[in-house]
């Protein structure tokens, strides 16, 4: 029985936030730049040094905003180019010590030169703490298995399909989730594409308490 794993939605949210932040930064600074240029052109006697510094900072905000938008949009295009991978495991549930097979399937939408596909099983600890009004989350990843596919040039419509056995270590830990502390197991897929930003996605494997006998 194959169980399809769902990708984490945090990346999509952060990308949306990035584009929104870039638009906000560039959009709010742009009227300021227009106003400053208009003042300087209408009144050549005005203070050039002060106005020059103002223009520099306003222009910097616009450049940073546009750069943030560009980075997020290019990543988006990169993902659209290679298509969404499908990752599934051959078990309905996984326990500590269980071996399982991860099946990876991806159809490339356009001709793409892939230099590396790396699939890793990682245990992640996420700890959230508050200090004053700030809330911070720190994470620590511990690899438990890794597999690399060789480089290859994929034609448009070509499909990549492989399976790989992985194992939750016998001395490992089940998935644990509370308000401030979380232990999770993830299959992370990273695809390196020539000329484009790397594509990376994480899929959670829920590990139940209980240990495999023997």
């Amino acid at each position: 029985m194959l169980k399809k794993l769902s990708p984490g939605s945090k990346k999509i949210e952060s990308r949306g936030c990035g584009i929104f932040f870039g638009l906000f930064l560039a959009g709010s600074a742009f009227p300021g730049l227009v106003a400053l240029v208009r003042i300087l052109s209408d009144d050549p006697e005005s203070e050039w040094v002060t106005s020059g510094i103002s223009i520099f900072f306003v222009a910097a905000c616009i450049v940073i905003g546009l750069a943030v938008i560009a980075v997020n949009v290019i990543s988006w295009i990169s993902e659209a180019r290679i298509g969404k991978p499908e990752v599934s495991i051959n078990a309905e549930s996984v326990r500590v010590g269980d071996g399982f097979s991860v099946n990876y399937s991806q159809t490339f939408r356009q001709k793409t030169e892939v230099t590396k596909i790396r699939m890793s099983l990682i245990k992640r600890e996420s700890a959230t703490f508050s200090a004053g009004t700030d809330t911070t989350t720190v994470t620590h990843d511990e690899p438990a298995g890794e597999f690399e596919a060789p480089p290859k040039l994929f034609e448009a419509g070509e499909k990549l399909n492989f399976s790989r056995g992985m194992k939750i270590p016998a001395g490992g830990m089940h998935t644990f989730r509370t308000k401030h502390n979380e232990i999770s197991w993830l299959v992370r897929v990273k695809v390196d594409i020539t000329g484009w930003p790397d594509y990376s996605e994480e899929f959670e494997v829920r590990v139940l308490a209980g240990r495999v006998a023997g």
Binding site: E125, S126, H140, M173, N181
Partner: protein, 131 residues
């Protein structure tokens, strides 16, 4: 100085390198001995099985079971014993990681009116046996 001394006697903990180790789902049975330093008129004596997290993140935890084993006067300098039996749940397991530790313990507390409650903690380990 504490108003009472406590002593824990656990039955059948798994013999491992870690003391007082139990399988998830196992039954913890034992005896708690208390010797009050003076007469204590307590609201209650309670024994709890609980876990909590320690480490970088803010603390999470839960009291799994609580048993009230005594109410009323505890005579000074006289040992009194309380039997208890509690079932360990299947999860979470004891854990020691980079940012997160999950610790299990038995806690005994004498609830005194208008005074600091004497308490004792007995650390246990909840994890399936290796192999």
């Amino acid at each position: 100085m504490a108003d009472a001394s406590f002593e824990w006697h656990l039955q059948n903990p798994r013999i491992t390198a870690a003391r007082n180790s139990f399988e998830p789902g196992a039954m913890i049975a034992g005896r708690l001995s208390v010797i009050p330093k003076r007469d204590l008129n307590c609201k209650s004596v309670k024994i709890r099985l609980e876990w909590h997290t320690e480490g970088r993140g803010d603390r999470d935890g839960r009291i799994v079971t609580e048993q009230e084993v005594h109410k009323g006067v505890l005579a000074g300098d006289q040992e009194i014993s309380f039997q208890f039996e509690m079932q360990v749940p299947e999860e979470p397991w004891s854990y020691s990681g980079h940012y997160i530790n999950i610790l299990w313990e038995l806690v005994a507390e004498i609830d005194l009116p208008m005074a600091i409650n004497p308490r004792s903690v007995c650390a246990i380990r909840v994890r399936p046996s290796e192999g």
